[in-house]
C-alpha cells in the first residue's frame, strides 16, 4: 500500500475514534461541561493533561528547533517540564481545594474584586488565542503535506472535529478524547525514534542511544555531531551560543509561564480530591517526560541524518523528501557556486532568509526563488525547522506506515491542545464574563447554552487563524508564556501563600507585569525588529526571557502597593486558611 493511502486510513481511523468517544461522553450540566463533574481518575487526567499540554509545537516543532539550536534548545526541554514541579508543589492542590470552575474565578474571589477577575480574563483570552493560532497552522501543515489536501479544507475538517467534541462534550468529552489522543501521539512519536535509534546506534532506547556510539564505529554520536557541525561553521552541537543569563531567563519564563497557563491549571479542577490533584500532576509529568526526553535524541539523530543525506549530493540525486518539502515551500536550494551539488553550512542561503518562490525550475530542476543569494556565506539550503519531525521518518527511510502514523500523531497533538484551549476560552466568557459579572441572573441551562455558543465562536475564530495564518505566530509564542508568567502566575502564588495581599496590590501587580512585559516584547519584536539583538537588550535578556523580569516586577509592585492599602476582609483570611488545609 502506498504511504498516501495508509495516511488516509490512519488519520481517518483516529478521527472516527475521537468522534465515537465524544458521543459516548457528552456533557449534560455546567459542572460536566467545565470540569468533567470532578470525576476523572488521576491517571486519565494525567494523560489528558499531557495531551492538552503537548501541542503541535511540542510534537512538530520542538525537536526540529533543538536539532538546529543544539544545547541552546535545552531551554524548551527544561522550561516546558520544570513548570510542572511548580504546578504540583505550589498551585494545583490549593486551586483544587478552592474548587471552582476557572482560573479568573479564583483570582476574582480571592481578591474580592470583579476588576481583578476581568484583568485575569483578558490575560487568559490573549494567551489562549495566541496558542490556538499555532495549533491551526500545525493542522494545516500536516494536511497539505501528507494528505495533499488544500490547507483550507484541512483546517475546516479539523475545525469540524473539534467543534463536534468540544461543543457537545465540554470538558468531559475533551478529557476522554485527549486520553485517546495521548496514546496516538506518544506511539507516533516513539516508533520512529526507536527505529532511528536502532539504525544509527544499535540501541533501541533513544534516550540512551544518543549518548551511544555509532553503528560499526567506536565514535560517540554526539562527538561526531560536534565535529561535523564545527566543520560546517556552526557552533558545536553540545555547546551554548546564547549567554547564560539569557538561557536562565528564557528557561524561567517558560517554567513560570507553564505553571500559569490557564488551560493546564484548569485540568486539576477535574479530579475528585486534593490528593488526586497532586497525583495527576505527577502522572502528567511522567507522560510528558516520555516525549520530552525522547525529543533531544530525535533532534541529534535528525541533525546528523540531515547533514549526511544532503551534503555534497547532486540536486538531481537528492532524496525525494527534499523535493517534496521544496514543493510545498519549506525547503529551498540556491546553487551559489553552480556546481549542481547541495552545500549546507552555517549562515543564510538567501537574502531576507525566507524564500519567495518564482515560477519555473532552474538548471538542475530546483524551484527558482526571487531572493538574491546571501553571499556572506556558502550555505545553499534554506530549511524550515518545523519540518524535521515530520520529515525524519522519510529521511531515515522508514516504511510508509511509520510516516502515516506520524501524520496521525501530529494531528492528535494539535487537535487535543486546540480543544483544551477553546474550552478555557468559552468557560471564561460564559462563566466569568456573563454569569459572574454581567448577567448574574441566568440559569444553569442558559449558562451552558452560552458556553456552547462561545466555544463555537472561538472555534470559528481559531479556524480563521488557520486559514489566514497571521505571520507573527512564532513571535507571539514568547508573548503567551511571558504574559502567563508575568500576570497569572504571581497572582495565583501570592493568593495562596501571602494572605495580606489585597486587591489593590494584586491588580497593580498584574497590570504592571502585563504592561511592562508587553511593551518590551512589542518594542523588540514588532516596532524595532532591527534592534532585536543582545547589545540592545535589558541586561542581555531577550524578549523570550523577559516574562521572568515581568514576573519579578509583578511581585515587587504587588507587595509595595498592598502595603499602602487596608488588609483584605476577614472572610478572605478564612478562605485562604481553608484552601491550605488538606
Amino acid at each position: 500500500m502506498d504511504t498516501q493511502l495508509l495516511t488516509y486510513i490512519f488519520v481517518g481511523a483516529s478521527f472516527a475514534l475521537y468522534i465515537g468517544i465524544a458521543i459516548w461522553s457528552r456533557a449534560s450540566s455546567t459542572n460536566e461541561f467545565y470540569i468533567a463533574g470532578k470525576g476523572v481518575h488521576p491517571i486519565a487526567n494525567g494523560m489528558a493533561t499531557a495531551a492538552d499540554w503537548m501541542s503541535a509545537a511540542s510534537f512538530i516543532s520542538m525537536a526540529g528547533l533543538i536539532a538546529f539550536l543544539g544545547k541552546d534548545g535545552s531551554v524548551y526541554l527544561m522550561g516546558w517540564t520544570g513548570g510542572y514541579v511548580l504546578l504540583a508543589l505550589l498551585l494545583a492542590p490549593y486551586l483544587r481545594k478552592f474548587g471552582q470552575y476557572t482560573v479568573p474565578d479564583f483570582i476574582g474571589t480571592r481578591y474580592y474584586s470583579n476588576a481583578a477577575r476581568l484583568v485575569a480574563v483578558i490575560c487568559l483570552i490573549f494567551v489562549s488565542f495566541t496558542y490556538v493560532a499555532g495549533q491551526m497552522r500545525g493542522v494545516g501543515i500536516v494536511f497539505s503535506r501528507f494528505l495533499e489536501v488544500d490547507i483550507n479544507l484541512g483546517v475546516i475538517i479539523g475545525m469540524c472535529i473539534v467543534f463536534f467534541y468540544a461543543v457537545l462534550g465540554g470538558m468531559k468529552g475533551i478529557t476522554y478524547t485527549q486520553v485517546a489522543q495521548y496514546c496516538v501521539l506518544i506511539f507516533a512519536y516513539l516508533v520512529p525514534a526507536i527505529f532511528i535509534s536502532i539504525l544509527m546506534t544499535g540501541n533501541p532506547i533513544p534516550q540512551l542511544g544518543f549518548g551511544d556510539t555509532l553503528v560499526n564505529s567506536d565514535v560517540y554520536l554526539l562527538d561526531k555531531l560536534d565535529k561535523v557541525t564545527t566543520e560546517l561553521g556552526f557552533i558545536a552541537y553540545t555547546e551554548n551560543a546564547k549567554s547564560n543569563i539569557d538561557i536562565f531567563c528564557i528557561t524561567a519564563a517558560l517554567m513560570f509561564g507553564t505553571a500559569g497557563l490557564p488551560h493546564v491549571i484548569v485540568r486539576f479542577f477535574t479530579v475528585p480530591k486534593v490528593s488526586d490533584a497532586r497525583k495527576s500532576a505527577g502522572y502528567a509529568l511522567i507522560f510528558i517526560a516520555i516525549l520530552y526526553s525522547t525529543a533531544p535524541a530525535v533532534s541529534a539523530f535528525a541533525r546528523m541524518n540531515f547533514i549526511d543525506s544532503v551534503q555534497e549530493v547532486q540536486y538531481k540525486e537528492a532524496p525525494s523528501w527534499f523535493k517534496n518539502w521544496e514543493n510545498i515551500g519549506l525547503i529551498a536550494w540556491k546553487d551559489k557556486n553552480n556546481d549542481q551539488l547541495i552545500q549546507y553550512s552555517s549562515g543564510n542561503a538567501l537574502e531576507g532568509v525566507k524564500p519567495n518562490f518564482a515560477d519555473g525550475r532552474g538548471v538542475s530542476g530546483e524551484r527558482l526563488v526571487n531572493n538574491n543569494p546571501d553571499l556572506t556565506s556558502t550555505n545553499e539550503v534554506y530549511i524550515d525547522r518545523d519540518i524535521m519531525v515530520l520529515a525524519n521518518p522519510e529521511i531515515a527511510k522508514l516504511p510508509g506506515w511509520v510516516v502515516a502514523l506520524v501524520a496521525a500523531g501530529a494531528l492528535a497533538a494539535a487537535l487535543s491542545t486546540a480543544a483544551g484551549l477553546l474550552l478555557v476560552i468559552s468557560a471564561s466568557i460564559s462563566h466569568d464574563l456573563l454569569k459572574k459579572t454581567f448577567m448574574p441572573q441566568i440559569t444553569e441551562k442558559q449558562e451552558l447554552f452560552y458556553a456552547r455558543c462561545s466555544a463555537a465562536v472561538a472555534i470559528f475564530i481559531a479556524g480563521l487563524f488557520g486559514i489566514y495564518p497571521p505571520g507573527f505566530v512564532a513571535q507571539v509564542v514568547a508573548f503567551a508564556f511571558g504574559l502567563a508568567a508575568a500576570t497569572i502566575f504571581p497572582a495565583l502564588l501570592m493568593g495562596i501563600f501571602y494572605k495580606r495581599l489585597n486587591k489593590e496590590g494584586a491588580i497593580a501587580g498584574m497590570l504592571a507585569g502585563l504592561v511592562i512585559t508587553s511593551a518590551y516584547i512589542i518594542y523588540f519584536k514588532f516596532l524595532n525588529v532591527h534592534m532585536n539583538s543582545a547589545d540592545n537588550w535589558f541586561l542581555g535578556i531577550s524578549p523570550e526571557g523577559f516574562g521572568f523580569v515581568g514576573m519579578i516586577i509583578n511581585f515587587v509592585v504587588a507587595l509595595c502597593v498592598s502595603f499602602f492599602f487596608t488588609k483584605p476582609p476577614a472572610d478572605i483570611y478564612h478562605l485562604v486558611d481553608k484552601i491550605r488545609q488538606p
Binding site: I66, K71, G73, S74, L77, M78, T81, G82, Y84, V85, L86, A88, L89, L90, P93, Q207, L208, F210, G211, D212, T213, Y220, L221, L222, D223, T238, N240, N244, I247, F248, T251, A252, M255, S275, R278, K279, A281, G282, L285, I286, A289, Y292, S293, P296, D577, R580, Q581, P582
Partner: protein, 84 residues
C-alpha cells in the same frame, strides 16, 4: 495544629524546590560548562543535565512530594481525630 501542618508543608516544598533549582538552573545552566568536563557514556555531564537529567529529576521530585504529603495528610488527620 493547623499551623503545624502548614509549616511542615512549607518545609517540604522549600527543600524540594531547592533541588528543583539545582538540577535545572544550577547543573543545566549555571555550572553546565564546568560539568561538561565530566563524561557519562557519550554525554558531557552538563549537556546531559540540560537535556535529560533535569527532566528525570522533575518527575522524581513530584513523586517524592506526593509521598511526603500523603504521609503528612494522614498524620494531620490522625491528630485532628485525637483532638476531637
Amino acid at each position: 495544629m493547623h499551623n503545624n501542618y502548614w509549616r511542615s508543608n512549607l518545609k517540604i516544598v522549600s527543600i524540594l524546590l531547592i533541588i528543583w533549582f539545582l538540577v535545572s538552573f544550577g547543573f543545566g545552566i549555571i555550572w553546565s560548562d564546568f560539568l561538561d568536563q565530566f563524561q557519562i557514556g557519550g554525554f558531557k555531564l552538563g549537556f546531559w543535565f540540560a537535556q535529560q537529567g533535569s527532566i528525570y529529576f522533575f518527575v522524581l521530585l513530584i513523586f517524592v512530594y506526593i509521598y511526603l504529603m500523603n504521609k503528612l495528610d494522614k498524620k494531620h488527620k490522625d491528630n485532628t481525630e485525637k483532638e476531637s
